[in-house]
């Protein structure tokens, strides 16, 4: 057995997985406040990347201006989506809200296709593709950047959820009615979680746009992001990070060996297997919240 090969697959898997976590954090934010897996998170990620490009590529502004500007714009896009599309669905069956988020995803894909076309564009982050060795291990630089961004956002949100506004958001995710009864604006809280998830989508879009180019396929990250979020427990930020690392390792190591046998293309198979097994064996995920039942 080639230990260096295994170690390389593991470490690269963990780093790639953290970039999935980045996506999953956005899902978790919305799930926490409204108990809906946001199927439009992929569309938001893609839109975030396109908005960055609109400034950097079309207007020629530097990325350090374009990215924060895109984050601000997407913050308001998130607020707007909640206000226009989701608020009126409050209290309706979850499946309606789910269908709405799916509709938004398709809508965003169609809109970006109409405005910017379908040809992949480079993000132009300028991360070097030169080989980067840590000891004997060959690592991917852009994935390391993604992992660092994921960890930074993780820390930021852990702190946020201890702040007063963060506590109110957690209260909302616990009980809408009780939140209203003590004067917490549930609508504003859910709006804020959409806004924050849209900002996370910009970060995800920039990193993944750099990795695979910016086009409509960015929205297909939803499959991996959703798998990570479900494995982590859907409402846990810690879960999103741990599950991202786990899924990345399983995917990379699994497909690293499977591909040699089946001749490639087993990545999605491994991811799908993880999703199916999680739902079958541990529906609350690794860190998911159980409803408390006192006896």
């Amino acid at each position: 057995m080639d230990w260096v090969f295994l170690a390389e697959l593991t470490v690269n898997g963990a780093i790639t997985g953290l970039s999935y976590s980045l996506f999953a954090i956005g899902l978790v934010l919305i799930y926490k406040s409204s108990s809906v897996p946001n199927l439009a998170q992929g569309g938001l990620t893609m839109l975030g990347a396109y908005v960055v490009l609109a400034f950097s590529y079309e207007l020629g502004w530097p990325l350090w201006v374009a990215i924060p500007l895109a984050a601000v714009i997407m913050f308001f896009v998130g607020l707007g989506i909640e206000r226009v599309a989701l608020r009126r669905l409050a209290g309706r069956p979850i499946v309606m809200i789910l269908m709405m988020t799916l509709g938004i995803d398709i809508f965003l894909r169609g809109t970006t296709l109409a405005i910017w076309g379908g040809a992949p564009r480079p993000m132009g982050l300028g991360v070097s593709y030169d080989p980067f060795f840590v000891g004997p291990l060959l690592l991917s630089r852009i994935h390391i950047v993604g992992a660092l961004v994921a960890i930074a956002l993780f820390v930021a949100f852990m702190l946020f959820f201890r702040s007063r506004q963060g506590i109110r958001l957690r209260a909302i995710s616990d009980d809408y009615m009780a939140s209203w009864s003590v004067g917490i604006s549930v609508e504003r809280g859910v709006g804020l979680s959409w806004a924050l998830a849209s900002v996370v989508a910009v970060a995800t879009g920039v990193i993944w746009g750099e990795i695979q180019g910016v086009d409509q396929t960015l929205s297909l990250l939803l499959l991996k992001g959703l798998t990570v979020a479900v494995l982590g427990g859907l409402d846990s930020i810690v879960g999103a990070i741990v599950a991202g690392i786990l899924l990345g390792i399983v995917e990379n190591v699994g497909s690293g060996y499977l591909d040699q046998m089946v001749g490639g293309g087993s990545r999605d198979l491994v991811v799908a297997a993880v999703l199916i097994l999680t739902v079958m064996l541990r529906p609350h995920g690794l860190f998911g919240r159980h409803d408390i039942e006192r006896i």
């Binding site: 995710s173 209203w180 917490i184």
Partner: protein, 269 residues
Amino acid sequence: MSSEETNSILSLNSIEVLYDSVLLAIKGVSLEVPNGGMVALLGSNGAGKSTTLKAISGLLKSERGRVSRGEIRFDGKIIGDVPPQDRVHMGICHVIEGRRVFEHLTPDENLEAAAPVSMSRQKINDEKARIYEYFPRLAERKASQSGYLSGGEQQMLAIGRALMTQPRLLMLDEPSLGLAPFLVAEIFGILQKINREQGVSILLVEQNALAALEIVSHGYLIENGRVVMHDTAEALKANSDIQEFYLGGGEGKNFHDIKHYRRRKRWLS
């Protein structure tokens, strides 16, 4: 009468509540809560007590109900269109039925969540300290997960959380539900203390009329969505109908007789 009206913090004038635009849940409820007073709203299951409270706090909205007739005045102002969170800012706080604490938050965080957005850090800490003084049991468990508190502790937390909003009118929906009698006595004692010390007016909804009439000055009896009786607590306790239907019957009843002769509630005929 007019002087009494200006002294009321809350007055309901023959309000009706419709659910889903068809179901009339309450049909003309009028009541008054004097400023700084303590009033009970009594009645059996499904009489319309909770609906009345939700009409006052505005929480009807989330259940697709609305006040279709009559007016609700808080502090002299009509509050028909005010959204629920603004009513809380005005000073109306509704402790909803079934405790409903934020289960995955600690008691301390439950209190923080209910603090008004504009409240300063210093003031929040003062308020929390004051609430822990009323409920020492909560202080002991302030860092544990609220979902695992006992029923009595959760009810205390629900009341403490409501106090955090700085209410002038505290409305409680069945705080005695599912609690042992000694706990009911403890919690009602604290409510009385809060009423006396803070000057918070209290509207108490209860099925447990016996316990409620011990601490309030006035009571309203509601049946099938209508107020059918209104009097001082003393008079209500002495009323034979109330005794029979809500206080567990008169003395020395021969149960054999009841089978043959079931007395009707007079006000329903």
